[in-house]
């Protein structure tokens, strides 16, 4: 570590920031899974200075050198200096990506990852540039839940989530696209898996990271309105799986209002029309919200990695939105269901299922954008 100079994160111009950020850049908060930094540097050695906090959901991080995953680890509360590489050829330019593995956390106010500085003995070169930008919005699937862990593991803990084994990351890499992810396990477009209607992604979409609560996160700008000035080329929404689960779960008494919420099936097992209409309306309204903030983005609702039951309600709402608004830049496709031998931990998609979904999405955008590369 001798001979390294420390550069504050806010002073680095030649940097690519992955994921949504607000105004706070010094230190730089990494709010979502996949949020991180990417740089191209010379020098033999590189360190990153971090500050993390958490209670029960400790952040995990991962880092890549030249696109290859090198390390993945847990960070317990405190200040951390992680060496990202050492003893490499000082003259060669290395591309380094450092990112958060754990999703934004709505249950642990203390949870945060702050990048303070980089330390290096080389120089910053121009950061990677991406022709295309993608935004992924989702639930536990997009949070990579179960992408790590043994297939029989069923406890809900931080270590099983990731951005490193994740269809969103795989798709963005295959398309050489920039990536933003906004996701939360258990949440839906209308309500959570357990009928908790507060757990809907649209309610947090317009804030920098509405999922990160508490005074510390507030100070970091998490609850600030998100500034949509930096347009994305496409938005992939992968929601509906938990809205479907709610129909199979007991009622949820809202602790704020005391009202019990429950999505119901009729005696034949079909969705009760007025309940499924709530989901359809939520899809419709969310599309309007997305379009308002992203006037030029192609919006693709994708669904199916954990069952196809919501395909009809979602397509109904997407069709209504297209018809009523005249906005044709919105589409739907199914992603293939996770097959028996493709599960990761606690019945969530494993690596092979994520790869399968990424192939479908990569192909979709190659055709949409008329690009010609092969995976």
């Amino acid at each position: 570590m001798t001979g390294l100079r420390t550069v504050k994160i806010g002073e680095i111009d030649r940097i690519h920031i992955l994921g949504r950020t607000g105004k706070v850049r010094e230190p730089l908060p990494l709010f979502f899974n996949g949020s991180g930094i990417e740089i191209r540097v010379t020098g033999a050695e590189l360190w990153i200075d971090l500050e993390t906090d958490s209670d029960n959901l400790e952040p995990w991080v991962a880092y890549e050198i030249n696109g290859a995953l090198m390390g993945r680890q847990m960070l317990l509360p405190g200040n951390h200096s992680l060496c990202l590489f050492r003893n490499l050829d000082p003259n060669e330019v290395k591309t380094v990506r450092f990112y958060r593995e754990l999703q934004a956390v709505s249950e642990d106010e203390r949870c945060r990852v702050l990048v303070h500085a980089l330390r290096l003995d080389g120089e910053f070169c121009d950061a990677p540039k991406y022709e295309r930008k993608l935004e992924f919005i989702g639930d536990s699937i997009t949070s990579g839940e179960g992408s790590y862990g043994y297939v029989d593991d069923t406890v809900w803990v931080a270590m099983y989530m990731s951005a490193s084994v994740n269809y969103a990351t795989m798709t963005a890499k295959a398309l050489h696209a920039d990536l933003r992810m906004i996701s939360q396990g258990g949440w839906g477009v209308y309500c959570g898996w357990d009928n908790d209607i507060r757990h809907n992604i649209p309610s947090v979409y317009e804030k920098v990271c509405g999922l990160a609560t508490g005074p510390a996160n507030e100070k970091l700008g998490a609850q600030d309105p998100y500034d949509f000035k930096d347009p994305v080329d496409a938005i992939v929404v992968n929601l509906g799986t938990n809205d479907n689960s709610a129909f199979n779960q007991p009622p949820f008494p809202d602790p704020d209002t005391g009202i019990c919420h429950k999505q119901n099936r009729d005696e034949k097992g079909n969705f009760v029309p007025e309940d499924i209409r709530k989901v359809e309306d939520a899809v419709y309204d969310f599309l309007k919200m997305l379009r308002k903030h992203n006037p030029s983005a192609h919006i693709l609702w994708c669904y199916g990695m954990l069952g196809y039951e919501m395909t009809m309600p979602i397509t109904k709402a997407v069709n209504r939105y297209r018809e009523e608004t005249g906005d044709q830049n919105v589409a739907f496709i199914n992603l293939p269901n996770t097959e028996k031998d493709e599960y990761g931990a606690h019945m969530h998609p494993g690596a092979r299922s994520h790869e399968k979904a990424a192939r479908v999405l990569t192909d979709y955008f190659r055709n949409l954008w008329n690009t010609d590369e092969t995976l």
Copy 2:
């Protein structure tokens, strides 16, 4: 061939007939790709006696012993005696499937394949029985066009079509299900790829084989109303690909009426509403027709193997049908698009694309039927 006895096809009770048939069983016409016979026999040797005719589209056939493809060949007009096996252990029971590879042919009135008799030195055992029955309705994809042939081959000839390398067959085999196929290359649910509105599958669905015309086929019962008394468990409709093509093709002057038909895009490239509504209405009407004749079948519209452009119109129509009729036993899913390295001949799905689609459908029905086998 000494010591073989000839049994007329109409006299064999222990036989499973694959594909739609009418009243004519002696000789047995094989109208569609995948139409054929399946038997379980003892004996060392087995022959099949056939009569075929054709002009430019000669039939191809294939046969399997114990589920393994053994032969595939062209049959030019005439009478044929094909040896299906010889010198096998006379005491062992062999399962033999013989079937037509070429789709039903709407352009060659002479084309037909008739099974007259089997010749064998063994006995007929009980024919295979299937717990489930599937009906596939489609276009060139379901006709297996390009499933044989080199990727650069672009001529439209009989030899490139098949039931042997075909997602419908693969799905039925994986599910141990019986299979009927009704398909025609170039046809759609509303119109053909070239805006020919006569080329829609619903117009032929209610006949035994509405696609097979001319006096010879008429005599075989092809134009008779199909008797829907034998119910299927599920109907898979894979239509829409040619309805989409029509929007990119020049007008088609109907030779019968002189009227020019053309599906149009607006200046932005979107489907013109009144034209796409024709497709949507055709989907809606076809669902009604399917339900009328198949009151208990699960109907799955699947789409996407050659592009996703019709996903929104089809889902709109399926949703409207579900809503207006209250019939919830109808669903939609996308099948994954054929990727660059998965094409067969003339830009149609190759073996790998068919396998991919079959995996999705197999998984779909395993979940629907709650069966537990792995592929």
Copy 3:
């Protein structure tokens, strides 16, 4: 078939003949699996005129258009006119390969496939040319035994053998190389699987097709000395599997001499030294014979697709040969064993095992020849 002209096989100059041939070219006998013809032609239609005979082992043939397998069928005794294609674009050049699927047959003197003529409405273009020539020498593995058929099928019949699903063919195709095959199921380098010492490949190697006996084959030149004037770049010998089996089989009484032959294991299960030495000597002698007739060929003994037990004796003999002769252009590699889920019929390698072996050999020759293509 109107408008086709018949060209006798012996009069076609622009033809590539696959497999070993003797002096007889009119008609052209196809002695081995993989023996056949390859042409490039214009025209809409192409036929081949054949004459075949057989008793219990009827020949099977296959044909490809532009490298894609199109048909595969049995040919019972008689004259046959097979249409290889029709209705293709008359101006396009089609590459057509027609070949024998069934190995050379040592048990059925009548068995033969003779090409008499081609009939076409187009012209012959220059036949395909190959930079490299490969010779494969082997047993049932190289005869493609079990490459067709259901995994539980155990009867030894003609239809389960092939050149179409065969590691030798796959390797030659991947390397764009010409191919000759000389193989016989059950035979070894020293003795057959049943200790029959007459069933050794070296005893037939120097004849055109020493395996094809009887007066008819003799007349076709099968028993003539083979003229080695057309050099190959490499010889792949895949023998040893049956020599290993012999150690597990009962003694074989030679009907010609009355002497009983038996390869023995000692009480620990190891090969008895004097018996395994017979195999080693046979390897050694065969290498000498191969070198004598192929002075410049790279000779690669490959082994392992059905178990590794003979690896040590074979490498011992190859090393002795290299040392005693100074000939370093001889090598050995293992091919990967057929795993449980890779079997074809009657416990022989299935398609996946053939593909695996072909990958290893293709890579081997790419490195040897310093060619750069990927599979």
Copy 4:
């Protein structure tokens, strides 16, 4: 971390130690890649207390929960407390494996990883037991060099080596076998890749970890004679790749003796007989050494993952050993070469090549041991 009790590593009876160890168990040194500990514990939380040191080659470690890789990280000199899991179900039994990723290091005397203690709030259950034990002896391939890292990375640093993406680990896991690894990048059976004759594995095999030098490692027992009392079922030797490289490299002047060493090719490119004999003799002698210390182990020399050039010399030596000693419990097989698209970093086998090799070895041992599981 409240409520955790610390248990010194030497006091844990219910523990499985992976990799070679000497007498020192308190702290427990992890000498080789793959060296580590495995336990089964209850409790919500588990920590490991470590002490590491290094100069230029810092150790990397990895850990698995229930067989799934969870973390991988660098450890710079100092004391470390790593949390291996937290917040898991306290009543469930978790299997945890913690191991060294970096090979034993012959160039950095300071390098070491010492396990001091575990901290937990649960109980130790019986450690995993393995029916079979495997020992792998090798070079950079067995050190997992390039198993991490981008394909164009060429610098020789610690982070690219692993036991986690490694054919030896994969094979042992598939066989449910215990594993010991002894390997060193650049070393051979006779000499190193650069003709340095000191870099031969036999010279260090009889010590606990002859590769780890310096006073600190000496104190840990690295240079003690290894006690071979704990027999392995099989030894897999994967050496020869660097012995082959030496023939293509300039002479190496031995700094100890001043003598220049160089393995030579003749003008045709073949190995000069007296030089290749040195390799053969080294193979022969090493087999004798292995047998002396492992009287009952099956010894399998495997070779080929980076080219087949040494196949003949190695098999020659193995055959000579078998013949001269009568020891038939020694064999050779080729592992398939790394193909173009299977490379990891700096032209070493990547994950796919390791998987391919593991399949071949797993199949080999399943047949040898007559076990019936599928991969």
